[in-house]
């Protein structure tokens, strides 16, 4: 019995029809939820749809968008990285201090990124090579990077004197802020990385079944180290951009940002168990989180009630998504 006969007979291997719609719905996933949320906000929240607010919203989520992409690599491989918030802060401070010392913007940026590489290498080495679990490893480097940031900054924000540096964070291009363009580029690059490179597919294989990947000759250790290095660099880049936007390096910024990045991914539908790596999920997650924050501010909701609203929307979104998937099967 060949394939086409099976399709006629309606056996499970076949049914491309039902598969198609469900795959489509599954692909769209949380993006649908986002669209629903967006429409609701456009209707019910004054000024939400204004160009100004859209630009502001996109800027507000630019940092989360950036680091969530590389966090996706970690999560897709079945792990996560808690050090991201600290790396953002420390690399911003690093860049600020070095720019002030040397007067060179380029050297400062490289120093900031270099810090990300170093933390990523430590994470990758300890986790992949020594086999310590990622939670403890990155919890440790989270503390260390935070401490390092405070130490080099002397405990307070480091103002940057060379205003050339602010170009990255404060200029506009085609009506959108430069950091937003950077984030869009990140989405494209990481989407490509995951779907069209062997590195990306190896990450998914490791997350799906590490044992199988290793037995098939996938360079598991090397891939894992790369994941953390890339994530370190992306976090550092986000930190440098943030420092440029803030015109200073802030040692206590982005505390708890690991939760934002992880929850953007997970909310979007990336499984913490690994093996799933859709950039569209991440985009959806980041957009939903950003839209909720933005609308709550526009609606002038009391911050105590904001906690309640945030929690409720998180729950409603995932339950809605789940229900949608079940009913589509």
């Amino acid at each position: 019995m060949n394939l086409s006969e099976k399709i006629m007979a309606g056996t499970p291997v076949s049914s491309f029809k039902t598969l198609d719609t469900s795959v489509l719905l599954d692909r769209a996933g949380m993006l649908l939820v986002f669209v629903a949320l967006f429409i609701a906000c456009s209707v019910f929240v004054d000024n939400f749809l204004s160009w100004r607010n859209m630009a502001g919203l996109s800027l507000a989520i630019s940092m989360a968008g950036m680091v969530s992409c590389s966090m996706l690599l970690c999560i897709a491989s079945g792990n996560f990285d808690l050090s991201v918030g600290s790396v953002i802060a420390a690399s911003g401070c690093m860049a600020a201090v070095v720019i002030n010392l040397t007067g060179s913007v380029v050297i400062g940026i490289l120093a900031g990124l270099g810090l990300g590489v170093v933390v990523g290498l430590i994470n990758g080495f300890v986790f992949a090579k020594l086999g310590i679990n990622a939670f403890i490893t990155t919890l440790a480097t989270m503390q260390m990077a935070r401490g390092f940031g405070y130490i080099i900054a002397g405990g307070k924000a480091v103002g940057i004197t060379n205003s050339d540096f602010f170009v990255i964070g404060t200029t506009y291009f085609l009506g959108l802020p430069t950091p937003v363009w950077l984030t869009l580029a990140t989405f494209v690059v990481f989407g490509w990385l995951i779907n069209y490179t062997e590195f990306g597919r190896n990450i998914l294989a490791i997350g799906g079944n590490e044992e199988a990947a290793r037995l098939a000759g996938v360079p598991v250790v090397r891939t894992k180290i790369w994941i953390f290095v890339i994530h370190g660099v992306m976090s550092a880049l986000a930190g440098v951009v943030l420092a440029s936007r803030m015109t200073s390096g802030q040692p206590m910024t982005a505390i708890g940002f690991e939760m934002t990045a992880i929850s953007a991914c997970v909310l979007g539908g990336v499984s913490l168990a690994g093996g799933i790596g859709k950039i569209s999920y991440v985009i959806a997650g980041v957009l939903i989180l950003g839209t909720v924050e933005n609308s709550m501010n526009l609606l002038n909701i009391n911050p105590f009630y904001q906690y309640l609203v945030r929690g409720t929307i998180l729950l409603v979104a995932v339950i809605f998504d789940k229900y949608k998937r079940i009913s589509s099967i």
């Binding site: 019995m1 060949n2 394939l3 099976k6 007979a9 309606g10 056996t11 499970p12 291997v13 779907n195 069209y196 490179t197 062997e198 597919r201 190896n202 998914l204 294989a205 799906g208 079944n209 044992e211 199988a212 990947a213 290793r214 037995l215 098939a216 000759g217 996938v218 360079p219 093996g275 799933i276």
Partner: protein, 504 residues
């Protein structure tokens, strides 16, 4: 497309030299030495836990031998990772499925060596090559489906295809047929013959003697981690000799069937529908009866058993126990009614890998035997575990050993022990002897028989034709998610069952 010269009796292409391998508390291999020539198929046989899989894992670099080394084509090799052995032209199909269920079939086939173009994955070629690789083995599998959607048998076929994509000179198969049905086995054997004719070196592990005599040219026997004997030709070898060398004694007729008298109908299934079933299924079985369930890979046996057990939610239909409709929503409900299920997918659905042997044995039965107010009766648990281990001859260093450290066959015995610890009315077996050696196999058939003699109803899914024929009182045959008929033992023959199982 012969690779190099064929049989050269003087220098074996692959050689194991004084290989030993120890685990904490276990000597899995002890001073194993033998060689295999290219262009031949070597059978590795031995009881469960004899060390066959460990040897193959040493070959593929999963384990480093405690001492000894490998020689390939006369030169010494050591592998510290599987990628080394893959690069050296060795592919191993492991006993347990090692797949990435969330990735597509094609990606699984080419895992670790995806075709690339300009630094990117070349998807067109990937799907083409995958299609090609599956052609001779399982042309009904769409390379684009996520692998997790395939049945166990189909997954096993992709595992075999995966090894072929490497074009390796040495291939090792660790019980590849344990979840395959007759038709798939034929395809596999055709492929193995082709590989041999191409001059490759093949190691073949199996507990099924018929297979070994069909496709192997020579055989190596293991016992308790030691190399017992190598027969360089199968010509003057018989199954009895081989089994005797493996077990140290003779094994008579494994099935040892004797007719029983059956009681009343215990379980009846009416118009069962659900995922995996294409038409409603109705069947009934009596107390003391063994009802075989035969079908090709993907025919829906597993799904039917799982529906009865409440492991998957049924779309419609009724289950009656002793004439009374019962409500089974979860496996727990089924167990409460004395219906138990033994899965074919030991790794995913059977074992608690980090749990001890004792824990795995007692997990279900303790509810009715061991405890009071939810508190565990440790002494009952230990006694029960010890009895079961002894009764089933489970080879383990102790009751505290983690189950994942036992050999595949011994894991299977522990799962059986779990159900034998308790009373039951109906037992649903899905491939109960998967991966179990000849000696133990006859013990398990004995067990099934004694269960039936005690009045238990046995439903046994199997893709092993001789087994179904040898054990069952009646045989239900499935085809494409529906029941194609039920035959009495006296009317059944291989021919008849196959014709009922094959697609029309």
């Amino acid at each position: 497309m012969a690779l190099g010269s064929t049989v050269q009796p003087s220098t074996p292409y692959l050689e194991f030299v004084h290989i030993s391998k120890s685990f904490p508390g276990v000597r899995a291999l002890e001073d194993v030495s033998f060689g295999v020539h290219s262009g031949s198929v070597r059978a590795l046989v031995g009881e469960n836990g004899a060390g066959k899989s460990t040897l193959l894992k040493v070959l593929s670099g999963v384990y480093r031998p405690t001492s000894g080394c490998l020689k390939i084509d006369g030169s010494e090799r050591t592998f510290s990772e599987t990628s080394d052995s893959l690069a050296a032209g060795i592919s191993v199909i492991y006993q347990e499925l090692v797949t990435v269920p969330k990735l597509r079939v094609a990606e699984n086939l080419f895992l670790g060596h995806l075709p690339r173009r300009r630094g990117m994955v070349d998807y067109r070629r990937l799907y083409e090559d995958a299609r090609h690789a599956l052609d001779s083995l399982a042309d009904d599998i769409d390379p684009r489906t996520p692998l997790g959607r395939l049945s166990i048998g189909q997954q096993q076929m992709t595992e075999i295809a995966k090894a072929l994509t490497r074009g390796s000179r040495i291939l090792a198969f660790d019980e590849p047929t344990s979840s395959l049905s007759a038709r798939e086995i034929e395809k596999l054997f055709a492929v193995i013959s082709r590989l041999r004719d191409e001059g490759r070196t093949i190691l073949y592990v199996s507990h099924r003697m018929e297979e070994i005599f069909r496709i192997c040219d020579s055989a190596t026997v293991f016992k308790d981690g030691r190399h017992v004997e190598t027969f360089n030709s199968m010509d003057d070898l018989t199954q009895d000799i081989l089994i005797n060398r493996m077990v140290g004694r003779d094994i008579k007729d494994v099935y040892n069937y004797s007719p029983r008298t059956h009681g009343d109908v215990t379980i009846e299934v009416r118009n069962m529908t659900g995922p995996g079933l294409r038409k409603p299924v109705s069947l009934a079985a009596r107390s003391g009866e063994i009802l075989g369930l035969f079908g090709l890979v993907g025919a829906g046996r597993t799904e039917l058993l799982k529906l009865i057990y409440g492991a998957t939610r049924r779309a419609g239909g009724e289950i009656l126990l002793n004439g009374v409709p019962i409500d089974i929503g979860t496996p727990r409900d089924a167990i409460d009614h004395g219906i138990v299920f033994c899965s074919e997918n030991r790794k995913a659905e059977g074992i608690i890998p980090l749990g001890s042997v004792q824990e795995n044995i007692n997990i279900s039965a303790r509810r009715r035997h061991g405890h009071r107010f939810g508190i565990i009766n440790e002494s009952w648990e230990r006694r029960n575990a010890r009895e079961q281990v002894r009764a089933l001859d489970v080879r383990t260093p102790g009751l505290e050993q983690k189950l994942c450290n036992l050999s595949g066959g011994n894991q299977q015995k522990v799962i059986l022990a779990r159900w034998l610890s308790d009373q039951m009315t109906v037992i649903l077996f899905d491939d109960p002897t998967r991966g179990i050696d000849g000696g133990a196999r006859s013990e398990i058939y004995g067990l099934i028989r004694s269960l039936a003699e005690r009045g238990v109803t046995v439903l046994m899914g199997s893709s092993d034709l001789p087994e179904v024929l040898g054990v069952s009182d009646r045989i239900a045959v499935m085809r494409d998610g529906s029941l194609s008929g039920i035959v009495e033992r006296t009317d059944a023959s291989e021919q008849k069952l196959l014709s009922m199982a094959l697609p029309v």
